[in-house]
Subunit: 129 residues, 2 copies
């Protein structure tokens, strides 16, 4: 039995992680942990751990740039994994409206396409007021 596939199912079956993965999937961009924290509104340990679980399930990639760690979607090769990712892609957008709005606001704080602000910054609170 495909271990990675089981891990992916488990990873996605948790609402917080599903939201997180949906975000990475629809934003189609790399995203730093601090940005994800602001967008999702969860604590640092949880975001970090959940991203790692998604990574270990073979769903995400990550690379370090300076002090920021960017996570991004991993291209799937096996057809069953592709279909699984597709199932998330087809989830109704309405369920993720706030996530999407927060995401756009948060990405607008980047400079030259790079994250420059940590989580919970004053500028962020300004935005979401």
């Amino acid at each position: 039995m495909d271990e990675k596939y089981i891990d992916a199912l488990k990873a996605l079956s948790e609402p917080n992680r599903l939201r997180l993965f949906w975000l990475l999937l629809h934003v189609d961009k790399r995203m730093a942990v601090a940005e994800a924290m602001d967008v999702i509104g969860d604590t640092q340990y949880n975001i970090s751990r959940n991203l790692k679980m998604l990574y270990r399930a073979g769903l995400l990639e990550h690379h370090k740039k300076g002090k920021w760690v960017y996570y991004s979607l991993k291209a799937q090769c096996a057809p069953h994994c592709k279909a699984l990712v597709d199932s998330v892609r087809h989830l109704p957008k309405e369920d993720f409206q706030q996530v999407m709005e927060h995401c756009i606001l948060r990405l607008s704080l980047r400079e030259n396409g790079e994250c420059v602000l940590g989580a919970d910054s004053a500028q962020w609170h300004e935005k979401i007021r």
Copy 2:
């Protein structure tokens, strides 16, 4: 967030249940609990409970005929649920070879397309000898 979808992910993320669902998916027939017991080789309570979880996740239907309860695939309407079922459908067949063989043997014990033998019968042990 789509509760049913989360439930489906959870339901499928357990190897025993995934095997069970794969079976129903590929056999494309209704199957009695007793038959599933022989095919999967699990106890009665586990099969019963796991089938029920798959049912409550919106993945299966069931109907009673005499003393037998037949479970079968439920047609999916939402596109994300369809894609999820598809992902299971595309799992490599090699991982389920024994399940498939047992299934064919067990179905050959039917009479007029109906289950007539309980689990763990002498005839079944004859077959899988």
